[in-house]
């Protein structure tokens, strides 16, 4: 035992000796070591590399770089490419989404119901499991899977080709001014597809401070799950304000406006954070721009499906199942004559109306936390339930959607929606807590409960304040 201690003492002595040498060597040790290694590397390389007429970059690489980073074309190309990706995602996802939904919701759901009826399963269990858990899961799969299966591979192709680092290069100045990192442009773009994936993508940012800023602000990128909500509400309430010929254009403009507001809020929040709690100068950008390399398309499709789509979808399903049960329970547990949902809606309605929303929206945003995609079906179900509309929907706690925009609008108007409700819903859809999948991912990535809570609560408060201001100014005018 004694000899062992002796040995340890000697070890500690060795470390202190190294320490004393460090005082002598001064501050520039790391510099000198790196310099020496590079000197050796140079001498080895010069002995074994012979390059006559070496081309660091091929001509097409040079021209392509000149084009995508040019003062005139740089940004337009960027916006065009990203818009193309989003357009392909939204348009391309329609058909498979409808296909999945017709199988999972239109066919399989009634089948399950029929089966449970023939087996004589009590209504309570059948409702909880089939109308609640199953339906919510089916909904999440059919609305989330196709867009993600299109968006992620497309995005990954751009990434593998080497274009995305150029986007960071182009956009860095803006983020520099906000005290953030240029690579945040990428996590932001990724967030337009899916916030959870955007949060994971923030790994590419080295500095913990800037990485945290990118994670917290990612929620302001309008994700795939929210685009359809925006488009629907804009067509119903904003488009109708304009003459019919311009309706489409006006509502599209409104959606783009909301997305741009998201980018603006993301920059402002980054700036605010880097001036206060996450204080620090805009640190280094130092990014290597890799050469362009033709992506291996099949492999990219395969791996981005495995790497991103499945992970995100799985997390969404895990949260959707219990949430579906909650949705069903709150609409079906009655105390006296009213369901829990109705109590909540009646109680919160006055406050919600005060900020230009309504109690249904409040409840929908709370219970539809697993995915933004199920917010509208939940709102419709709750609206039908509270207004007692007959002939629409499939019963309490069963989410539904309508093919016709006009009919959807009629239901909402019957629920007391005005243009103000529409505008504020669009704003609140942009500025509210991240979905549970994203919250969970933020916790996983930051490992900090404090920052997870902040990323969740901050947008809610901001969203409520914005809605309040819009509503009050609306009332004033």
């Amino acid at each position: 035992m004694k000899s062992n201690n002796n040995l340890l003492d000697k070890n500690i002595e060795l470390v202190s000796y190294a320490d004393s040498l460090r005082w002598e060597l001064g501050e520039n040790l790391h510099d000198s070591i790196t310099e020496t290694i590079f000197e050796d590397a140079y001498s080895i390389a010069s002995k074994s590399v012979s390059s006559i007429d070496k081309k660091v970059r091929t001509n097409w690489e040079v021209s392509l770089d000149r084009l995508v980073t040019s003062r005139i074309f740089g940004f337009p190309i960027m916006f065009l490419l990203l818009s193309l990706v989003f357009w392909l995602t939204i348009e391309g996802a329609n058909v498979p989404s409808q296909f999945l939904s017709s199988i999972l919701i239109d066919d399989f759901h009634p089948m399950l119901k029929g089966l449970s009826a023939s087996l004589g399963i009590p209504h309570f269990i059948d409702g909880l499991l089939i109308d609640g858990a199953y339906l919510s899961m089916a909904w999440v799969i059919s609305v989330m899977l196709p867009p993600m299966a299109i968006f992620f591979p497309l995005f990954t192709l751009l990434e593998d080709f080497g274009y995305l680092p150029r986007v960071a290069f182009n956009m860095d100045k803006l983020f520099q001014k906000a005290g953030a990192h240029g690579k945040q442009a990428l996590t932001m773009s990724m967030g337009f597809g899916c916030n959870a994936a955007g949060v994971i993508a923030a790994r590419v940012i080295d500095s913990p401070r800037e990485r945290l800023i990118a994670i917290i602000t990612n929620n302001f990128s309008l994700c795939n799950g929210r685009w359809p909500t925006q488009i629907l509400i804009a067509s119903i309430f904003i488009g109708s304000l304009a003459p019919a010929s311009l309706a489409g254009l006006v509502s599209a403009g409104a959606v783009v406006g909301v997305a741009l507001l998201g980018i603006f809020l993301s920059l402002v929040t980054s700036w605010g954070l880097s001036k206060t709690v996450l204080k620090g100068e805009a640190s280094a950008f130092s990014l290597e721009l890799p050469p362009y390399r033709p992506p291996v398309i099949l492999r990219t499709l395969y791996t981005s499906l495995i790497d991103r789509t499945i992970i995100v979808l799985w997390r969404a399903i895990v949260f959707a199942v219990p949430a579906g049960m909650v949705i069903w329970l709150v609409s079906n547990i009655h105390i006296y004559d009213l369901s829990l949902a109705e109590y909540f809606i009646d109680f919160t309605n006055p406050y919600a109306l005060f900020i230009g929303l309504n109690g249904v929206i409040f409840l929908a945003y709370i219970i539809a936390i697993p995915a933004n995609e199920i917010v509208i079906p939940t709102i419709l179900m709750l609206t039908v339930m509270t207004t007692g509309l007959i002939g629409t929907g499939q019963g309490n706690g069963v989410m539904f959607e309508l093919d016709s925009i006009k009919e959807t609008g009629d239901i909402l108007r019957a629920g007391g929606w005005t243009v103000l409700t529409g505008i504020n819903l669009m704003l609140f859809s942009l500025i509210h807590n991240p979905c549970s999948t994203t919250i969970y991912t933020i916790y996983k990535e930051t490992g900090s409960l404090k920052w997870t809570i902040f990323s969740t609560v901050y947008p809610i408060i901001l969203g409520l304040v914005v809605c309040f201001l819009v509503a009050q100014i609306w009332f004033l005018v």
């Binding site: 340890l8 060597l25 000198s32 020496t36 590079f38 590399v49 590419v204 890799p290």
Partner: protein
């Protein structure tokens, strides 16, 4: 060769450090050898990994992609190899998590072979990492990747000369078109089994003042830990204030790294 067989009755014995590998979270059950895969970001490292294992790990054309460590396995000439993909790093000297993971794996895990994937079009810059790794481990193979791109850019690399300079096998590869993979597998096998004995290049040109400190410190390290294969490197890490190494020296854990079972040059000669 003959001589070595007499000298050490265990030419084919793996050198990896099972106890430390378990600590690092690598299960060696059912595998004969462990291969670490290191390299700069953007060198096609993950593609090499996929080619070797058949596993489809995503390969991003973007620095700092592989954040978590990927593992896979393959069989070659009746030996089972476990391959561990380390995070892509520019260097191993800094305090960032990526570099720490890579550094500690090579140091404490003592992989039987470390494959260093380099971008042939940027050889000099990539040699920075190669030289650093050769300070830690004797057993390495350089995969001169993206060699087709280098040819297109009129860069000619004399791989025999490079191999002579570095003292380890150098294999031109193109992971995308899967060229050079057989040769790479072969060399990994040879280095792992001790058939190929590496004589790795060691960094020489430190300034007098630094060299003196390294010498004095490594002398003391050797007295305390006579089996340590890379005392000079440990000395440099102590001088750089690397906490992992400081802790390992203080606790004596650094002694778990030893050359006793290995057939590195010191024994072979």
């Amino acid at each position: 060769m003959q001589n070595k067989n007499i000298n050490s009755d265990c030419v084919n014995c793996p050198v990896h450090n099972v106890a430390n590998l378990v600590k690092l979270g690598v299960d060696m059950e059912g595998f004969n050898y462990v291969v670490a895969l290191a390299g700069n970001p953007n060198t096609g490292k993950s593609t090499i990994f996929n080619n070797l294992t058949g596993l489809r790990q995503h390969t991003g054309n973007w620095p700092g992609k592989t954040v978590s460590r990927a593992e896979g396995g393959y069989e070659f000439k009746d030996n089972k190899f476990k391959i561990v993909d380390l995070p892509g790093t520019y260097s191993l000297l800094s305090t960032s998590t990526d570099e720490e993971v890579a550094r500690n794996f090579i140091l404490f895990g003592q992989p039987d072979v470390t494959v260093i994937v380099v971008d042939s079009t940027k050889l000099e810059r990539n040699l920075n990492l190669v030289l650093q790794i050769l300070e830690i481990t004797d057993r390495a193979v350089v995969s001169l990747n993206l060699i087709d791109e280098a040819t297109r850019k009129n860069i000619k690399i004399n791989e025999r000369e490079l191999s002579k300079q570095l003292g380890i096998p150098v294999v031109p590869t193109s992971a995308r078109s899967r060229t050079g993979m057989d040769e790479l597998l072969n060399y990994i096998h040879q280095v792992a089994t001790g058939e190929y004995v590496c004589k790795p290049y060691r960094i020489k040109g430190y300034s007098k003042k630094i060299n003196k400190s390294i010498d004095e410190l490594s002398k003391r390290i050797i007295t305390l830990f006579p089996d340590l294969p890379n005392a000079r490197w440990v000395a440099i890490r102590l001088l750089e204030g690397d906490q992992t190494i400081i802790d390992a020296v203080k606790s004596g854990e650094i002694g778990s790294i030893s050359v006793s079972t290995s057939n590195s040059i010191s024994e072979a000669v």
